[in-house]
């Protein structure tokens, strides 16, 4: 789920950056540092929406290095997977154990145990696709699936989630052929 939240971040600057463009530099560095990062409790920072200038506190000099630490408050658009959340994702790889799907930066693994019975033995190695017994559903790289999140972890700035499509109205929702709207 996407949501907006105010967060805090520390920026360390060397004196080289001090000058009239200081605030712009801080904002630029902040975006570089946090966008795309996965925070343990909040999920992925998709976008830094706003950095209110009055919220950039005056910096503190570190006497060891001469660098200055600024604490910056910013509003961020976050993407966090919730357990039992149903979301749409794009399949990126299929293998004999299941498939991986991405929802933006979020990687979700769907095991073959989490597929409907009719797909349990449906892996086709030559096509790299999961195919249902009646050959109607072909989940291959590039197609869209609707899945439910069963679990997630955050490790090293990355979130891995486990999903399932073993429920009604979950599963393939498009074949990956795109169309301009």
């Amino acid at each position: 789920m996407f949501y907006v939240k105010q967060l805090e971040h520390e920026i360390v600057l060397t004196p080289v950056h001090f000058g009239p463009k200081l605030k712009a530099t801080i904002v630029r560095l902040l975006k570089e540092e946090v966008e795309g990062l996965a925070l343990a409790n909040y999920g992925y920072v998709v976008n830094v929406i706003e950095v209110p200038e009055d919220q950039i506190k005056s910096g503190i000099i570190e006497y060891d290095s001469g660098d200055v630490v600024f604490t910056v408050k910013y509003t961020a658009l976050l993407l966090r997977p919730f357990i039992n959340e149903v979301l749409d994702a794009v399949v990126t790889q299929c293998n004999a154990l299941g498939f991986f799907a991405f929802c933006g930066p979020l990687r979700i693994f769907v095991s073959k145990h989490s597929m409907p019975e009719e797909m349990f033995n449906g892996f086709d190695g030559s096509k790299d696709a999961w195919i249902s017994d009646d050959k109607e559903v072909v989940i291959s790289s590039g197609c869209g699936v609707r899945l439910r999140i069963k679990g997630r972890t955050v490790e090293q700035g990355n979130i891995t989630a486990i999903g399932t499509i073993k429920d009604n109205y979950l599963g393939q929702i498009d074949d990956g052929e795109t169309m301009e709207s």
């Binding site: 004999a96 891995t160 109205y169 393939q172 929702i173």
Partner: protein
């Protein structure tokens, strides 16, 4: 695995209750406290059921309901641009807007999905006991409401939710409900883990891989060893994700794999790239070779910039590309063509993933016989485009000129105008021409000569070339998919293993009983702790087919792209033997062909595995020979513990079926000597049947898995006896030799010492 999952019964609140609907799909996973089913008193069941049936929420027999499929909509460029310009807005409005929009979208989606769901469920039947109703959004709401108020809002029927006591899979009892037990919940066995999460139930990893020393008397007495209760195997799947799966799961996987391979009569072959199939370098000095040699290809790979830890440097937006030069091994095409029908090929390289992917496509381009890569194809496309433009301009021009000249007959005044126009136009053509990358010589040609016809033929030529190139490329891509699929494992995928370790289990969780491995280094396979079951610890698995490391002489001295080549024990005729005579791949192709026929000619019941077969094939090569090694193995290593790794050359000799002896005597057939003049080498010349030979012979035997002719590898006889060829001296001479024994030897030795 003998392990059975723990079961917990699902009970009804009392005997008088009956199940109304299941709230979850049978066989699916539930969390503790989740609502599994709704029940009600028996007398109310009929009413409640009819209500539910009329509200169209029950499903037909437990088939999986599929979502509606549509086409994905991607926003048009215009709307993206609009969104981009709208980005820098003040925070407050955006804040509320985004959340609001999201909510609205969600609501819209829900509203869309509901009616369709309801419509699909109209056809419902009343048998509820073994059916799986779906949980639509309305129903879920109703359930929660009824759970809190204990009363369905509109009906007077009292329904009670059954909550799940534990986490696990819901199953229904097969027989009639007794004592209010309607089903059971099976604990998850955690068949696999991705990123520390169980792939089935999504719970975080428990301590089960190796750390859990479950030494309870029960388990240890049953299995007879102190293995942990559940040992997980790491498997690297396509795309470089490592999944840890339980033994049971891996066995199942292996079984399926074996069945599939038996079905299509194939075996697996794991290929190494560098120095096995090709020689790659990133040295720019290789550039000139690219044009002269047909088998040298280029590929461009971005250099990964290490990010500075403090984030002071700005990440470069433009990745830096580095050109790599790749020389394909001779006979590669024949080799790949011969094995690809009988084997399922995988790539396991010490290179990066991108490198591996690029190489596989280069291999396939080589197979279909095209040399154009993506970049060249793009160039060609551009050239064609330019030619097309040029041609069209010319045609238009000529038409115009024609009509102009017609007009000119009527009106005299148009002449000057036309001249100006022509001048302008010809200038335009010139400009187009300079952009044309195809031929610079043509650009200097007089403009008048470029009539439409000339341009047309050139355009057609280019078009034909382009379409051919594109077709080839398409074919190569297709071939790549069919040959290698996603079975590419690279160093970056298995970073946890370290640089010089290749583990067979990463690809084949059950040890690869149907896989052969082709590599120029065996130490990488020996380094992995879990590769070999049949061989001694520290030795490579028998699946490995060692090949002679391939070096392209022109790349000699250039840095390797990835790992170094394997040790070439033959240390030999590197200079005398030109690379184009390298027939290793022909040997290997033959071995693999034999292996395949041997494997599939076996009886079904008593099938030997690939490693067993390969060992057997090797054993026959030098059967009946007695070898003595000289100057190859340190003397103090002669005495060995039974399970310590043997010196490589000893292992080669023994695996080829040769009998190793310590000292030279009559029965010895070959003395393999690193250099001439050793005690054993000299002794070898005493015996008529003993051949003094270089280690390269043994290596060639090993690489080709056949008995090579010894002629090319004979140690050149020492000058004093150069007249007689060593292998088969005449009996008389031999007798003479054996008589003038020790003295001669001592004298010779003395002489040698004097020389130093």
């Amino acid at each position: 695995m003998s392990e059975t999952p723990k079961r917990t019964d699902i009970c009804l609140p009392s005997e008088k209750h009956v199940v109304l609907t299941w709230k979850v799909k049978l066989g699916s996973h539930v969390q503790q406290g989740e609502t599994i089913a709704m029940c009600c008193l028996e007398e109310d069941a009929e009413v409640a059921r009819s209500k539910i049936a009329s509200s169209a929420s029950t499903a037909t027999k437990s088939t999986h309901k599929r979502p509606k499929r549509g086409r994905r909509l991607i926003p048009s460029p215009a709307s993206i641009a609009a969104a981009k310009t709208a980005k820098p807005l003040p925070a407050q409005p955006i804040d509320s807007n985004t959340t609001h929009n999201l909510h609205q979208k969600l609501a819209e989606r829900l509203a869309k999905s509901k009616p369709s769901a309801a419509a699909e469920n109209k056809a419902s039947d009343e048998t509820l006991d073994d059916s799986t109703p779906i949980t639509t959004e309305d129903e879920h709401e109703k359930a929660t409401v009824s759970a809190t108020t204990k009363k369905a809002p509109k009906e007077s029927v009292q329904t009670t939710p059954i909550l799940s006591p534990v986490n696990g899979f819901v199953h229904e009892s097969k027989d009639e409900a007794t004592n209010g037990v309607i089903g059971y919940i099976e604990e998850c066995l955690h068949p696999g883990f991705v990123g520390g999460l169980c792939v089935v139930c999504g719970t975080a990893k428990l301590e089960i891989d190796g750390n859990d020393n479950d030494l309870s008397p029960n388990s240890s007495s049953l299995t007879g060893n102190s293995e942990p209760r559940q040992k997980n195997t790491l498997v690297t799947v396509s795309g470089g994700v490592t999944v840890s799966i339980s033994q049971q799961e891996s066995q199942e996987m292996a079984k399926l794999d074996i069945e599939r391979l038996l079905g299509i009569k194939k075996l697996c072959l794991v290929l190494d790239l560098d120095h096995t199939l090709l020689h790659a370098t990133a040295d720019p000095r290789a550039q000139p070779l690219c044009e002269s040699n047909d088998d040298v290809r280029t590929l461009r790979l971005p250099i990964v910039m290490e990010a500075q830890p403090n984030g002071q440097t700005q990440p470069s937006q433009q990745p830096v590309f580095m050109t790599h030069y790749v020389k394909l091994r001779p006979h590669l095409k024949e080799f790949l063509n011969s094995v690809r029908d009988a084997y399922e090929l995988s790539v396991y390289t010490a290179g990066t993933r991108q490198y591996a992917e690029e190489i596989t496509i280069i291999l396939c381009r080589h197979l279909v016989g095209t040399k154009l890569d993506m970049l060249e194809l793009e160039k060609l496309r551009y050239a064609t485009f330019v030619a097309q433009q040029e041609y069209e301009t010319q045609v238009r021009l000529e038409k115009k000129r024609k009509s102009d000249s017609n007009e000119g007959a009527d009106e005299g005044g148009a002449d000057s105008k036309q001249a100006v126009k022509r001048k302008k136009v010809s200038f335009g053509v010139d400009e187009v021409k300079t952009y044309n990358t195809t031929s610079s010589a043509d650009a200097n040609a007089p403009v008048e000569k470029k009539t439409a016809e000339v341009l047309k033929t050139k355009l057609d030529e280019l078009k034909a070339e382009l379409s051919k190139g594109e077709e080839m490329e398409k074919e190569a891509q297709k071939l790549r998919q069919s040959i290698f699929g996603s079975r590419v494992v690279s160093r970056t995928d298995v970073g946890d293993l370290g640089r010089d370790v290749k583990s067979l289990r990463r690809i084949f969780p059950c040890g690869g009983t149907m896989a052969a491995v082709l590599d120029d280094r065996e130490d990488v396979w020996a380094n992995a702790s879990d590769n070999s079951e049949t061989t001694r610890k520290g030795e490579p698995p028998s699946n490995l087919l060692l090949v002679k490391p391939y070096h392209f002489s022109a790349f000699q001295g250039f840095a390797d792209v990835n790992n170094a080549a394997g040790v070439d024990l033959s240390a030999s005729n590197q200079s005398t033997e030109t690379e184009e005579n390298d027939i290793q791949l022909i040997w290997t192709g033959q071995i693999l062909k034999d292996l395949h026929t041997l494997y599939y000619s076996q009886q079904n019941g008593t099938r030997q595995t690939v490693p067993q077969l390969l060992s057997r094939m090797r054993k026959n090569v030098l059967k009946g020979t007695n070898l003595v090694l000289s100057g190859l193995v340190p003397l103090n290593r002669d005495v060995l513990l039974p399970d310590a790794p043997r010196p490589t050359i000893v292992r080669y000799a023994e695996s080829l079926g040769a009998q190793l002896q310590k000292n030279v005597d009559v029965s010895v057939t070959h003395v393999v000597a690193a250099k001439d003049g050793t005690d054993k080498a000299i002794a070898a010349r005493k015996f008529p049947r003993t051949v003094l030979i270089k280690p390269s012979w043994l290596m060639e035997c090993y690489w080709s898995m056949s008995r090579r002719r010894s002629l090319a590898h004979l140690m050149t006889p020492i000058p004093s006896r150069s007249s007689s060829p060593v292998p088969m001296p005449k009996p008389a001479e031999a007798a003479e030799e054996s008589s003038d024994d020790e003295d001669d030897l001592a004298a010779e030795f003395e002489e040698e010492l004097m020389n130093y």
